[in-house]
Assembly symmetry: C2
Homo-oligomer: 168 residues x 2
DNA sequence: TTGGAGTGTCAACAAGGCTGACATATCGTT
DNA sequence: AACGATATGTCAGCCTTGTTGACACTCCAA
């Protein structure tokens, strides 16, 4: 469907053919497997999974974040997130403190133990990303980010940009 | 850990700082959500999920493929895949034929009905990819693919390249 | 012809999504 | 003070999709 005709525009649109798009789709699929492989390996054995990793990552990224904010970023239900947080809190990886201004809120922080696991996980994941970046080079990395950003839903892009700009 | 020092090499290595790597990680996370969002929406309502989509995609891509080959591509256990295939076969989306040379094998094909669903799913997913590609431009797309390819595990890269070259 | 390797199937279980319902505490407004 | 709205936590139950274990059929080579 909608094969882009080739060789007629001065600006070649060959990169928008269905075949090229399909290759992009498969690249995303196969690369995402690699992307999660290293943390998954670390987590198995421990009683945690990918959901715990995500929570730990974003709590580390925004110390003191609220449950509600985390829900927006992760895009899951509070029941799902609560199950994960309960485990992390009772295992002493996450600290949940009643909000100072608004006592209905809970502010989430990693404990020292939580930070240790976060470092272990993100080191592994960063190492793979570093290899990929180094192999591909800075220009490719810029393109990588442009395409991914354009692929996000609007709400996700807002979260992504907000996190990015905070440390820019 | 391992902050890359800046401003000392003639070739700037700023793109390998931990901060840049973390942004790459978050970009992958948020973009993958967008990547799967459209097919997921179509599948909900039907009695199928993401696993069915993946099976349909790769059977369409390699008609007559065996269960074992599909296992390697999808990276799940044969029991997981079998559950999905059983549903697709009994619903008349996939045709499973006993191998001609080796009767232990099953060759898998999409039926007309299966191809119809495949088109619906891949149209939705391609449309998002097309928008992202068009927004980012051909140079960015080339970089996107280079980085993703470098991020794959070796075995996944083999599958990716094999599929890519078949239609090149 | 027999045993091992390859392949496919069934059963049972676990993780982690989901919905719905409800309790509690707090906030803000009236 | 009272009330509705908001933020969070929890219980129960369901679904998808991953896992292991057990087993049957087919093929091939010793």
């Amino acid at each position: 469907m909608s094969q882009t005709p080739a060789g007629q525009n001065s600006q070649s649109l060959l990169f928008l053919t269905d075949e090229q798009l399909r290759q992009g789709i498969e690249a995303m699929f196969f690369a995402y497997r690699g992307f999660t492989a290293d943390p998954d390996r670390i987590l198995e054995g421990l009683a945690y999974g990918r959901a715990h990793h995500r929570a730990i990552h974003f709590i580390n990224r925004s110390p003191g974040t609220t449950v509600n904010n985390l829900l927006g970023i992760l895009g899951v239900t509070k029941q799902s997130l609560n199950r994960v947080l309960r485990a992390l809190i009772s295992d002493g990886l996450v600290d949940s403190r009643v909000g100072e201004e608004d006592k209905r809120e809970r502010n989430l922080y990693l404990t020292d133990k939580g930070e240790a696991l976060e470092r272990e996980l993100s080191n592994a994941q960063r190492e793979r990303m570093r290899m990929a970046f180094r192999t591909a080079g800075p220009e490719a990395v810029a393109g990588f980010r442009q395409v991914l950003e354009a692929m996000m839903d609007e709400e996700m892009r807002r979260h992504y940009v907000a996190l990015k700009d905070r440390t820019a």
